[in-house]
Symmetry: C2
Subunit: 456 residues, 2 copies
């Protein structure tokens, strides 16, 4: 409704005053954008997090250090109401892992257990493999067909700019182990959901399958294809240990820049603070933490915004929980959330932005489109389809959301692997992200746009 | 001397006959080249070696399997006089290895021990690091300056086409541990001699330093730079085990295509059969084995050559020994070695060829230059500077040699790391190598060129 009122007000102003307001908004947004392009905050934040904390899986001491780091960082950057929202969640913790071809051509394999994987019996598990070059070929097997075998699925992940292959192929990681177990398999190996050709496997969560399940480095998946093609039975030994904490302590870390006119209206943005264990969580998702923290700071720096800007560092994205807990804790606030957004696809340039339907008709958002156009951002006419896993529950509860699509071309080379390190972030690309978010936050926090009102 | 005689003979022929001979050589060499470009032998050889044997460090059971593979492969391809030349050599065998920053920012580091490294005491070695961004900065330290410390050298390896950075920077791996120990260090970490940005360290031999010495993955070296720059003492724990076999059995595997006219004149080419342990030895040096084996076969296939083509699979290049042993075993044959060559810089395209001084004046070699020109090969006017470590002793004893320079642009992304796997070889580049070698072997084996005679 606010949108309609705003439009009515604007209509009531003389044309000259309207032009002046739009002109002034555009000038201010451009200044915010240009400041963001040269501001060092985001780089410093992600450099600090990845250097001083490093890997920070939920349930580990490193995640407690990350929480303290988050509080200290937000406070040092001048955020207000900095606090921690505690909850508990299930945490799967990796132990020692190894795999090898026992015969007929003995050699080591590079694996990384999937989150929620069962451990092997002590001393390992040795079984013949059955290799499927597509996931569907495994699904086509009847119950019992994989009895006593280690199922191997080697379908490759195509490189895509919009990350769409992750959803399509990811199912062989998330559901594959369960489907293999249903068919009698005693173990499951999947080609990493990865576009890289390195020997570093990519982990990720799977539905608790009851059997040991691990990701193969992509060259190792291809090696098993070659061995299987030789027509002799290939035997593999898996040795994997892990532990589970049923109710691990976890934390969403929050900081705000309180609004000067309508502080109860909140713009919620953030990234996730936890990471998988092999890398240092730079692109997943130190970058998202850095981008949204820096953007909010820059958007609120020249003068206090009219609405409240809130940054959330969600504390258990990889193994789930932080988004649901956030929505639960903020259930009575949903109606006052102006918009929610999460940055969680690395640090590649934003190439496309999707706003709630009709938003572009509001002057603030047409200024946004013009402000980020020189950064190479296309405005989608369709509303966003996906906001981020930590805001999914908040969106479901009724909050409007935006989706700023990052170029995912290189993301799955690195994601969930040891290669997720700071050196993979390009400072200019990181700054472009900050500029887009800062422009959006500035315009949203200093206008009266109501994203709920603008249904088509 | 043979060269002069040949030239005299050629001069004695009528001009018409000379043209015919050169024309016929050129036609035959072009046919050999073109056959090589589409011949599947090299790919099959390297696919088989890397799949069925995999990593094959000297002193391990895998190297014995590699020996058997070599004999079987040469026999299956129709080589004659296939045999094994045994010797013993010192072998360093990797055990378990790990490293971590203990404080103030605890995190794991990706390392790989250097060949000949001492093990740490059981339970590991914990010490403060002293980090040098250049190797020279460490050399500038006086004796005792590093007492009780772990020295860290993080100088980066620039990417070069001609592999020249390896020689310039490699010294921080080969000599660095010894120099650090001289200055009192109890451990040594060096940025991998690598152009990659992955978390996979690159191993390689070092002069037995008496202290534990390991390579850091390049992102980990940069991480230590960031931590050291924070100004607080950084403590690292190294835990490394290894063992040494003083006289490990080793083998050079040999096969020939015997010459039909002058079988005692031998052209010696090959690659090395052993590899480092983390990868499957595809570019280092399965490719060299495959290229030279396939080239000799193709060069000798249409009809038996006039001189003997010999392929040697040297059996202990990485830790040294096979070249010296070969020269020793063949000391009385040196004068009959027409030319020696080794392929040991991966599978990148050959972009430059160097022949013994004056060779290009011989008709066979001017045909060679013309034959490989369409493959993008430039002929150097200078004689070769380096032939390969397995032929160094043979060269020193007096054998002429050639150097066909492969494009090393990507070689040090992979070399001595887990990423040295088959998928990194591009079949068209491999075939280009075979075509160059096959053309050279054909022309040399079917002419009377004397590379010794052609001193400028």
């Amino acid at each position: 409704m606010r949108f309609l009122v705003a439009a009515a007000c604007a209509a009531a102003l003389p044309a000259h005053a309207q032009d002046l307001t739009a002109q002034s908004l555009a000038t201010e947004a451009a200044a915010v954008r240009d400041k963001a392009l040269s501001d060092p905050t985001a780089w410093r934040v992600v450099e600090s997090l990845t250097s001083e904390v490093g890997a920070r899986p939920v349930g580990t001491p490193a995640m407690a250090r990350a929480r303290d780091w988050g509080v200290a960082t937000l406070a040092a950057l001048g955020f207000e109401n900095v606090h921690v929202e505690s909850f508990t969640t299930r945490a799967w913790i990796r132990g020692e892992e190894s795999a090898e071809v026992v015969g007929p051509w003995p050699q080591r394999l590079q694996i990384l257990g999937l989150g929620n994987s069962a451990p092997t019996p002590k001393g390992g598990l040795t079984a013949e493999i059955v290799l499927f070059r597509t996931y569907q070929a495994m699904l086509d097997q009847p119950p019992g067909a994989l009895k006593g075998k280690i199922a191997v699925v080697t379908q490759a992940t195509p490189r895509t700019q919009d990350a769409s292959s992750y959803g399509l192929i990811g199912v062989q990681r998330t559901q594959g182990p369960l489907e293999a177990a249903k068919r009698g398999a005693v173990g499951y190996l999947v080609r990493s959901i990865s576009t890289a050709d390195t020997r570093l496997p990519h982990t990720g969560s799977t539905a608790a399958p009851g059997i040991p399940a691990a990701a193969l480095a992509t060259p190792d998946a291809e090696q098993l294809e070659r061995l299987a093609a030789r027509g002799k039975p290939v035997t593999v030994r898996l040795d994997m240990s892990s532990s589970v904490i049923a109710a691990a302590p976890a934390w969403n870390v929050v900081g705000e820049i309180r609004g000067r006119e309508r502080p109860e209206e909140v713009i919620v943005v953030g990234g996730h603070l936890d990471s998988w264990d092999p890398g240092t969580g730079a692109i997943d998702d130190g970058a998202g933490i850095a981008i949204t923290t820096a953007a909010a700071r820059i958007a609120g720096q020249a003068q206090r915004p009219r609405r409240t800007l809130r940054v959330v560092m969600w504390g258990s994205e990889e193994q789930g929980g932080s988004g649901d807990e956030y929505a639960k804790a903020h259930a009575d606030e949903i109606a006052r959330i102006v918009v929610a957004g999460e940055s969680d696809l690395g640090a590649g340039r934003i190439w496309r932005a999707a706003l709630p339907a009709g938003s572009l008709d509001h002057p603030a958002m047409s200024v946004f489109a013009a402000t980020v156009s020189p950064l190479g951002v296309l405005m989608l006419r369709e509303p966003p389809k996906y906001g981020g896993s930590d805001i999914a529950a908040t969106i479901k509860a009724g909050a409007p959301f935006v989706q700023f699509s990052q170029d995912a071309d290189r993301y799955f080379d690195l994601h969930h692997s040891a290669d997720d390190t700071l050196d993979k972030i390009k400072p200019d690309e990181l700054a472009q992200n900050v500029a887009v978010w800062a422009s959006f936050l500035y315009l949203t926090a200093n206008s009266d746009i109501d994203f709920r009102a603008a249904k088509p």
